[in-house]
Amino acid sequence: MIEVVNLNKSFGEIDVLHDINITINKGEKVVVVGPSGSGKSTFLRCLNCMEDPTSGSIIFNGVDIADMKVDINIHRQKMGMVFQHFNLFNNKTVIDNIMLAPVYVEKKRMKKLRRNNPQNEKIKTTKEIKAEAKAQATELLKRIGLEEKANAYPSQLSGGQKQRVAIVRALAMNPDVILFDEPTSALDPEMVGEVLELMKELAESGMTMVVVTHEMGFAREVGTRVIFMDEGRIVEENNPKEFFENPQNPRLKEFLSKVL
């Protein structure tokens, strides 16, 4: 599904990623761990070109999205992203946060349909589009038990609630993969559980996930493959059992001895 070929990234003089090569298959839950500054967040952000790779390709569903000529927005719609600081839209209510992108994309699609054939029966009115998106958003909110917060603003939610809303906002686009950038690092300890629980549910539903995290328990339990990054390189990758019980690389052994 995602194939990373010779990915390099540097910020000015500083090289952050060196020749990363990895293939992520459909249904996989890839967990990326490593010390801070190892480039794991940059790697994740390169996957949907939030950071433009300095060189190399990111092949997503057969298209090299690192190519500047590609319309990245279309591909990002199929790659959800969940951030450490949630990044919910502060000026929109919870339900509007979830509906915004689906409505926007559907409206654009209808415009195109109308241009090709104004009599096309599949054309929906804005009202219908909104109603559909609202039904879907309500369904998603129900799933995370926050339907009574539909008309609240993000500032009225707790950190854990914000992150769960951010996750379903990504889900509303029916993405092929969701990228998680340290989704629990900014949360109060008692809220970490509810977010991890939702991510676990997602994993069980078959979603392809790439997760940068410090939660080793999650990596072991949910991950199908764990990757250790250090100094901008993938140093070791293995299934979780082998990864944690039988680490090979000395840097990984040292890292695990510190965090476990």
């Binding site: 949907n48 939030m50 927005n73 279309i74 591909h75 990002r76 719609q77 199929k78 959800g80 992203m81 951030f83 600081h85 949630f86 990044n87 919910l88 839209f89 502060n90 000026n91 929109k92 915004l100 992108a101 926007y104 994309v105 603003y153 993000p154 500032s155 009225q156 951010a166 906002r169 990504a170 686009m173």
Partner: protein
């Protein structure tokens, strides 16, 4: 004091008896027209310039646009409003062979001028919005401009509303320079009453009073708007 009473009587005579109030109403109307439409044009221009200034500049086009905008802002902030008004009315428009009423010219010049100031206000407003908001929009597949329009600019405007209110107040007060191109504003109206009654003390006092009331009303309205826009901040 008796003298002052006489002056008041004289003012009232001209204000009501000689239809002075009609002139004042027209002047007030023009003052408000110039300030309100000037502000609207200014917000549109200012927002466009501000967006150009915050666009990432890897490509050539944004750089060229940025250069043009820098020049624009430098020109309109670097010359007095009166000069811009005179240049437009007596130089630019005649050269182009265009004939416009002075109030329309004033509206355009005020818009262009305040656009330069508002662009800087708006830029700081946009930069005060958490970059995560833009990332959140881009990551979900919205374009730069869509995220700007739907997410970032509304939050920026909320942040800069008090400053925009100030800009509006400045515009209202500055309209008094449009007499240079022969437009009838509040100042010209009272000046006429003064000339007709050979007495300037009371007309100018009343004029100042009207300006103050205008400004107070606008400040009140801005506060109300701030409060209603702060809805999304509840609980913070």
């Amino acid at each position: 004091m008796g003298n002052f009473n006489l002056k008041v009587m004289r003012f009232i005579e001209v204000f009501i008896g000689a239809n002075g109030y009609k002139t004042v109403l027209e002047g007030l109307q023009n003052t408000l027209k110039i300030a309100v439409f000037g502000l609207v044009i200014g917000i549109v221009i200012g927002t466009l310039i501000a967006v150009v200034r915050v666009i990432p500049k890897y490509k050539v086009l944004p750089r060229i646009l940025n250069g043009i905008c820098s020049f624009y802002v430098a020109f309109f902030r670097g010359t007095p409003m009166v000069v811009q008004l005179l240049l437009s009315y007596y130089v630019a428009l005649p050269l182009m062979g265009i004939n416009l009423p002075s109030v329309s010219v004033a509206i355009v010049v005020f818009g262009l001028n305040s656009g330069a100031y508002i662009s800087e206000i708006m830029r700081s407003g946009i930069q005060s919005v958490d970059p995560g908001q833009m990332e959140g929009g881009r990551a979900i597949g919205l374009s730069f401009s869509t995220t700007m329009i739907k997410i970032v600019i509304p939050q920026a405007i909320k942040n800069i509303l008090p400053t925009l209110g100030n800009e509006f107040i400045t515009l209202i007060k500055e309209t008094s320079v449009v007499s240079f191109v022969g437009a009838l504003d509040l100042y010209v109206a009272f000046n006429r009453i003064g000339s007709n009654s050979y007495e300037f003390m009371v007309p100018y006092l009343v004029m100042a009073l009207i300006y103050i009331v205008l400004v107070l009303v606008i400040s009140g309205l801005v506060k109300l708007m701030e409060r209603s826009l702060r809805k999304s901040d509840r609980g913070r």
